[in-house]
Symmetry: C2
């Protein structure tokens, strides 16, 4: 699998001297430690043993109810009965692969796409159809061209602040995509982990809001609370939700109860709304630092995205630029990032691209890293 090759490649970044723009990790200083301390006491007092006991496979009722309210705020129509809690979004992606993909089935993904999803789907043996993308995200005509000739089991998109590009599919395109999904009566997997991480501009409603019955919508607490709790969730039509629960049961019985009650109270107490602005402030500033450094140091022959949120910037070099070559030279200079080719479902694409994460290191380090990268590029 490509993901293993990538893991191997990234192993060197564990060296603490390296400034890593490679991962997709939240800033540890963004975690609400004080709030979690308070919620720990609240959860143990309020739920006692229930917070530590085996729980239902679809998730704790109170968390599902709170999630339904939260999703309502982004205009998603759902109820607790449509929602399931998973062991991170990855748990949902694996379950989706397990129930929908039979060996040889086609699925459609963006080009480039989120590699963790490819890693979740690939063991079930799909063949990938790639949807072309540009600065406005996935191109509807490219999707329709695929669906016209192929029956796909589902279309997998990360429409908002996509990983790896940071791009957001425009509202116009979302409407077109919704129509296409409906017209060809297929299923959309809308993976939306970065929805809350908007630093400027106006929110765009999820595609789910237009085609509720054709969408499994995924989100997570990893970017707004803490990824280490491994609390992801989905909202799905009830028949699909039932399949998801049944498939999840044999994999892990249920998602950890304690983390679920913490997440439920993080919503219920209003702490998420109180804390989120702090996260946004930290990331906005880091993103600005990276964009400024790119502007200042990078050669004019390079392009990069300027997302209104999320965790990543996507850079594209001239046609024959080799990002893997840059990677190994950068490592020698104690800077890491991810060569973009690893984000394509089909091998060999995007060799001149790379992904830069701006959330996990300090602003000074971001500047140093971008400067070093540009120096290496200019020397090559």
């Amino acid at each position: 699998m490509e993901y293993s090759a990538l893991s191997e490649l990234l192993r060197v970044t564990a060296n603490s001297e390296i400034i890593s723009l490679a991962g997709g990790l939240p800033a540890p200083e963004s975690f609400p430690l004080k709030i979690i301390k308070e919620l720990n006491d609240l959860v143990l007092k309020k739920y006692e043993g229930a917070s530590l006991q085996y729980g239902p496979t679809d998730g704790a009722k109170i968390l599902k109810e709170e999630i339904a309210i939260w999703l309502g705020e982004r205009n998603i129509k759902t109820t607790a009965d449509n929602i399931g809690v998973t062991s991170g979004s990855q748990g949902a992606l694996d379950t989706i692969g397990r129930i929908f993909i039979d060996e040889g089935d086609s699925i459609a993904v963006e080009s480039p796409t989120y590699i963790g999803a490819v890693d979740a789907f690939t063991p079930y043996g799909p063949s990938y159809e790639e949807i072309k993308t540009d600065d406005d995200g996935a191109i509807p005509e490219s999707l329709e061209k695929i669906l016209k000739t192929k029956k796909v089991k589902f279309v997998y998109l990360v429409p908002t602040f996509q990983n790896p590009t940071g791009r957001t599919i425009t509202w116009e395109r979302r409407k077109q995509i919704a129509e296409i999904i409906k017209k060809y009566d297929t299923l959309l997997i809308e993976d939306d982990p970065y929805n809350s991480l908007r630093y400027c501009g106006k929110a765009v409603d999820p595609i789910q809001t237009m085609i509720q019955e054709n969408t499994v919508y995924l989100c997570t607490f990893s970017k707004v609370l803490a990824p280490g709790l491994r609390i992801g969730f989905y909202s799905a039509p009830k028949n699909i939700a039932a399949l998801m629960v049944s498939a999840k049961q044999s994999v892990d019985l249920h998602t950890n109860s304690y983390g679920q009650y913490l997440a439920a109270e993080y919503l219920k107490t209003g702490y998420l709304k109180k804390h989120l602005p702090k996260i946004l402030k930290i990331y906005k500033s880091k993103q600005e630092a990276m964009l400024k450094a790119l502007e200042k140091y990078f050669p004019k022959s390079f392009q990069w995205t300027r997302p209104e949120g999320g965790m990543f910037i996507w850079a594209t070099g001239p046609k024959h630029f080799d990002a893997i070559d840059l990677y190994w030279k950068a490592i020698k200079n104690n800077v890491a990032f991810v060569p973009g080719t690893y984000f394509f479902a089909k091998l060999g694409e995007g060799k001149n691209t790379f992904r830069l994460n701006f959330t996990n290191v300090g602003e000074k380090q971001i500047k140093i890293a971008i400067k070093k990268l540009s120096e290496i590029i200019k020397k090559t």
Copy 2:
């Protein structure tokens, strides 16, 4: 799947008027709430953001080191590098199914066996070979008979206080089984979740201690700390451990970090050793209450196991007794248990058997439930 039928059957037990001897839940009063409160503060103070951040797929280093020490106390030779942390034991069982079972492969399991394991393995399409059992656990000659004629991918056993029977494989038999596993060069999956729950008698070393290179040993914090944290683990030969990690990555990235640090500190601070006697005291007394009630009320034509630990007693009625019929009559009288036939990998066996859990309800309720069951049996 049988497990779904069983879930359906057990749904009625959610009614709070029902005394349920059906589940396999620890007693909520056995959870160390005060200790967890203390460890919460300790973990946040000591590990800060790291306890909430993404972590390695194989588990937090400190937890793996503490587990290696803990397992050493039961004479298991292992190191942190052989250990992986999973989302409950179920997570390990699913991973084992994923890496070892190809459609049509044979695997050998006890008759009866742990139904959660069957549920984890079945999606990968194995065919089951059943090892005969008696009061001393799995019968070595029956295992050898299978291995003589069939190549099995692995042998799955719960040797100590087995779920569902409560039986423990004797040391003599363990030695024979170890020799057979080695002779036929197959793999043992030794699932040992109840190891610490011994109320009397002398500990028997795991089979792993004799055939380390042929064993994946599974255990969990579910019975000694709290199941809701979903922290299971395995010790495996390094080549297998590497396969397990790679397969787990696509399923859930890693097990929740926060729970892992809680579990690590539960071991490191010595709290497990301090708290375990309290758990044993609660369960021993409940088990005695159940055995006493069975002795007093049950007809002489019934037999049941008298385990030295664990969570279950296994009852066997006369040849033509129908435990599913008893189940529905019992439900009408607000008592639940699990008909034994659901614990057999092959359909239709064990119709005259049933499993009684004694850990999750009070002693008075145990007595009432057993009395009611015997009254129904006598009326039938």
